[in-house]
C-alpha cells in the first residue's frame, strides 16, 4: 500500500501535466464549440445554442476535408507499413555495413517536416524544379505538379511516405529482433519456404509492432498539418486540405474560434472512433488468437 502511495505521489506531477495539456484543452474545446467566439462577437464567447454543430453537419468543406484526411491517412499508412516491413526485413538480414545502412535510412525521419516539405515543393516547382528540368531534358514539357489535384495529392502522400517509412521500418526491425532465430530454423528444417515463414511466423509475431506502428502513424497522419501547409497549402482548390488545416484556417484566417474548436473536437472524435475501433478490432483478434491457441 505504501509503495502504491509513493508511486502515485511520484506520478502526480506528470498526471497533473497530462491533465493540463490534454484534459483541460479538451474540456475547453467542448465548451467553446457551443459558443460564438468570432470577430462578430468581438472575439468574446457568446452561447449560440449548438449553431456550430449544425453548421458542421452542413459544411461541405468539413466533410470533404474529413474524406481527404482519411484517404491520405489510410493510403500513406498502408504504403508505410508495406514499405516499412520490406525495409525492416532488408535491414534484419546480415549485410555488410548494416549499422551504417540503418543509420542512413533514418535521415528522412530526422529532417524537420517543414524543411522536407519545402524541399519537395522545390523539386516539383513548375517550371524551375529539378523534376521538370528532367522532364524537359527527356524531351517533354513542364508540368504543373502542384496545380493539378491528382498529382499534388500523389506527391503529398509520397512525401509523407518518404519521411515516415524509416520510422515504421525501425519499429518493425525492433520487432523482428525479438523473434527467436531457432523458431525460424525449426520451421525451415520442417521444409517451410521463405514466404511461408513470413506468413506463419514473422507476421503473426510482428502483429503487436504492426499495431503499434498503425496506431502511431494513423494518429499522426489524421492530424497532418505542417506537411500539407507547406507543400500545397491545402490546394489546388482545397483538394489536399486536411481537417487540421481547416481548423487552423478557421482560427487564424477567419478568426472564428468557436467553429475552429468545433472542427478540432469533431476531428478528435473521428480520430477516437477510428483509432479506438482499430484497437478494439485488434484486441478482439488477439483474444481470439489466444483462445484458439489455448484450445
Amino acid at each position: 500500500m505504501k509503495a502504491r502511495t509513493a508511486s502515485l505521489l511520484l506520478m502526480a506531477p506528470a498526471l497533473l501535466l497530462l491533465a493540463a495539456v490534454f484534459l483541460y484543452p479538451l474540456l475547453l474545446y467542448g465548451w467553446l464549440s457551443f459558443q460564438a467566439s468570432s470577430v462578430l462577437t468581438g472575439l468574446e464567447p457568446v452561447p449560440n445554442g449548438g449553431a456550430n454543430w449544425g453548421r458542421l453537419l452542413d459544411d461541405a468543406r468539413f466533410w470533404t476535408d474529413a474524406f481527404q484526411t482519411l484517404r491520405f491517412a489510410v493510403c500513406s499508412v498502408a504504403l508505410e507499413l508495406v514499405g516499412g516491413l520490406g525495409l525492416a526485413l532488408l535491414l534484419h538480414r546480415p549485410l555488410r555495413g548494416r549499422g551504417t545502412l540503418r543509420a542512413l535510412t533514418l535521415l528522412p525521419w530526422a529532417l524537420p517536416t517543414t524543411v522536407m516539405a519545402l524541399g519537395w515543393r522545390w523539386i516539383l516547382n513548375d517550371p524551375h524544379g529539378p523534376l521538370n528540368a528532367a522532364i524537359r531534358f527527356l524531351g517533354g514539357s513542364s508540368y504543373g505538379f502542384l496545380s493539378t489535384p491528382a498529382t499534388t495529392w500523389f506527391f503529398v502522400v509520397l512525401a509523407d511516405v518518404w519521411k515516415t517509412l524509416p520510422f515504421v521500418g525501425l519499429l518493425l526491425l525492433a520487432g523482428l529482433q525479438t523473434i527467436p532465430e531457432d523458431l525460424e530454423e525449426a520451421l525451415r528444417l520442417e521444409g517451410a519456404g521463405r514466404l511461408q515463414i513470413l506468413r506463419r511466423l514473422t507476421l503473426p509475431l510482428l502483429v503487436p509492432y504492426l499495431a503499434l506502428a498503425v496506431l502511431f502513424r494513423l494518429a499522426q497522419a489524421l492530424g497532418v498539418f505542417d506537411l500539407i501547409q507547406v507543400l500545397s497549402g491545402g490546394g489546388p482548390a482545397g483538394s489536399t486540405e486536411s481537417l487540421a488545416l481547416y481548423a487552423y484556417l478557421n482560427a487564424m484566417r477567419f478568426l472564428d474560434f468557436g467553429y475552429a474548436a468545433t472542427v478540432m473536437l469533431a476531428t478528435f472524435l473521428l480520430l477516437l472512433v477510428l483509432v479506438g475501433g482499430s484497437w478494439w478490432l485488434w484486441r478482439r483478434g488477439d483474444l481470439q488468437g489466444r483462445r484458439e491457441g489455448a484450445a
Binding site: 506528470a14 468570432s38 470577430v39 449560440n48 459544411d59 484566417r253 477567419f254 488468437g289
Partner: protein, 460 residues
C-alpha cells in the same frame, strides 16, 4: 514446438507499453521540474531593452505584398532622405493576398506586431476592425481629405463612423476587349455573348470570354460583379444577411453556367485564377477578359500577339442594369499600439499621397484615388487606362463588408465552382450557398445572427 500458441511470445512485448508509459511519465515529471525550477530566475532578466537614446531615429515599419513593396521602393527612399529622425522600412510580404493576411493575423493575434503600418486589402477591413487591431485615423485625416478622392476610392475605408484606412490604390475589376476583333466594346452581358458567339462562329477567335472560375476568392470577385450586373445583391447591409437565393441571383449564376455550357468560355475557366486567364487572353485565345488593371501592363509589356490590340472598359451588366467592377483597393492602416503613431501617419500621408500614386499609375498601372491625378493631362498620356479607371470608380461594387466575408466568400466560391464543374444547377447551387451562409452567420454571431442585428456595413 509446433503446438506452441503463436501469440505466447507476446508476453515479452507486453512489458513494452508499460516501459513506454513509465518512461513517458518520468520524462514529463522531469519536464515539469525543469520548467518550474528556473522560471523564478529567468523572469528578471527577460525584458531589459536599453532605453532609446533621444538622437536615435524612429523606425516605422510597413508590411506590404512584395510587388507593391518594390513599386514604392523609390518613394520610400525619398521619404527617408527628406525626413530626418524617421526611418521608413518596408517589409516585403508574400505575393498572395491571403497568405500575407495570414502572416499579419498571426502577429496581430499574438499581440507582438513587428510593423506599425499594414497595407490592407479592402476585403479584410471589416474583419480587422472588428478584431480591434487598427487605430482610427480621423484624428489626422478629416473628411476634406477623402472628399478630394474619386467616389469609389472613398468606399471601404470607414466603418462604425471611424476612418480606418487611407486608400493607396483605386483598382476595380475591368473588362478587356480586343480592338482588332470588334468596333466597340459590348454595352451589356447579352452583347458580350452575342459578339463572342459571332466571332467564334466565324472562326476569328477560339473563345469568347475568359474570367476567374477557380475555387478561390477571385471567383467571389467575379460573383460580386455578375450578381450586381443582374440586379441581385450578395449582402444586404441593413439586415446583415445574404440574399443569394433571390431570382436575380439565380439568373446571375445561370449566366455564368451558360457561358461554359454554350462554349463561350472554356471549361478550363473553372480552374483559372487571374494569371491563367491573362496568359490565355494575352496569347490571343479569346475576345474578352475580366481582370484587374495590372493586366493591361502585363499584356503591353509581354509583346504577345494581342499587344496594342486591347481595349479596356468598365464591367458590363445585364441589359437595363448598371454594371460595376468589384472594388479591389489597397490602403494603409495604423496598427493599434504602434509606439510612434505620429511618424507612422507621416508615412501614410506620404505613401498615399499624389506623388507615390502617380508613380504607381505610370509604372504599375494602379488606379490613383485622388481626383486631381485623373485631371492631369501628362498622367493621362502616360497611364492610358486612367479615363476608364475613373469611369469604373463611379460605380464600383464592394464585396460584402462584413467581418464574416472570408467564410461567406469561401462557401460561395466552393458552391459556384461546383456548379461550373457540373455538380449542380444554378437554383440548387444558390439555395445551398444561401442556406450555408445563414448557418455561418448564426454560428459566428450567436443569437444576434438570427435577429439579423449585425454590424453596419462599410460606408453604407
Amino acid at each position: 514446438m509446433a503446438a506452441r500458441p503463436p501469440f505466447s511470445s507476446l508476453r515479452r512485448w507486453r512489458s513494452l507499453p508499460k516501459l513506454l508509459t513509465t518512461g513517458l511519465l518520468a520524462l514529463l515529471s522531469a519536464t515539469v521540474l525543469l520548467v518550474l525550477l528556473p522560471a523564478s530566475g529567468l523572469s528578471s532578466s527577460g525584458m531589459s531593452a536599453s532605453p532609446v537614446a533621444a538622437a536615435d531615429p524612429v523606425t516605422v515599419r510597413v508590411l506590404m505584398p512584395a510587388p507593391l513593396a518594390d513599386a514604392v521602393a523609390a518613394p520610400v527612399a525619398q521619404f527617408n532622405a527628406s525626413s530626418p529622425g524617421v526611418v521608413l522600412e518596408v517589409i516585403r510580404g508574400p505575393l498572395d493576398t491571403e497568405t500575407i493576411s495570414d502572416l499579419a493575423t498571426g502577429s496581430l493575434l499574438l499581440g507582438e506586431v513587428p510593423f506599425d503600418l499594414l497595407l490592407v486589402d479592402v476585403s479584410w477591413l471589416a474583419r480587422y476592425v472588428a478584431a480591434g487591431w487598427f487605430e482610427p485615423l480621423e484624428r489626422w485625416f478629416g473628411p476634406e481629405v477623402l472628399a478630394a478622392m474619386e467616389a469609389g476610392a472613398r468606399l471601404g475605408n470607414g466603418l462604425d463612423g471611424h476612418l480606418w484606412r487611407m486608400p493607396l490604390t483605386g483598382d476595380t475589376g475591368l473588362l478587356y476587349w480586343r480592338t482588332d476583333l470588334m468596333e466597340r466594346p459590348p454595352r451589356d452581358t447579352e452583347e458580350l455573348v452575342a459578339i463572342s458567339r459571332d466571332l467564334q462562329r466565324r472562326g476569328r477567335v477560339r473563345w469568347g470570354y475568359l474570367w476567374q472560375g477557380r475555387q478561390y476568392e477571385g471567383l467571389s470577385c467575379v460573383m460580386v460583379e455578375v450578381l450586381h450586373g443582374f440586379g441581385a445583391r450578395w449582402w444586404n447591409g441593413s439586415t446583415a444577411r445574404t440574399e443569394l437565393d433571390s431570382p436575380e441571383a439565380v439568373a446571375a449564376a445561370q449566366w455564368l453556367a451558360a457561358l461554359l455550357q454554350d462554349g463561350v468560355s472554356p471549361q478550363a475557366v473553372a480552374s483559372y485564377a487571374e494569371n491563367d486567364a491573362l496568359q490565355s487572353f494575352a496569347a490571343g485565345d479569346a475576345a474578352f477578359l475580366r481582370n484587374w488593371p495590372y493586366a493591361w501592363r502585363e499584356i503591353e509589356k509581354g509583346g504577345g500577339p494581342v499587344k496594342g490590340k486591347v481595349g479596356v472598359t468598365a464591367m458590363v451588366g445585364a441589359p437595363g442594369e448598371q454594371g460595376g467592377g468589384t472594388l479591389g483597393t489597397w490602403g494603409l492602416s495604423l496598427i493599434k499600439g504602434s509606439p510612434h503613431p505620429e511618424e507612422a501617419v507621416a508615412a501614410i500621408r506620404w505613401l498615399t499621397g499624389p506623388v507615390v500614386q502617380r508613380q504607381l499609375a505610370i509604372e504599375q498601372g494602379y488606379a490613383p484615388t485622388w481626383s486631381t491625378l485623373y485631371d492631369d493631362p501628362d498622367l493621362q498620356r502616360r497611364a492610358p487606362l486612367l479615363t476608364v479607371q475613373r469611369q469604373a470608380l463611379q460605380h464600383p461594387q464592394l464585396r460584402p463588408p462584413t467581418p464574416a466575408y472570408a467564410q461567406l466568400s469561401d462557401l460561395l466560391a466552393r458552391q459556384v465552382n461546383g456548379m461550373l464543374t457540373g455538380q449542380g444547377g444554378s437554383g440548387s447551387t444558390m439555395a445551398a450557398a444561401q442556406r450555408q451562409s445563414l448557418q455561418v452567420l448564426r454560428s459566428l454571431a450567436g443569437p444576434a445572427g438570427d435577429t439579423a442585428d449585425g454590424r453596419p456595413a462599410v460606408d453604407r
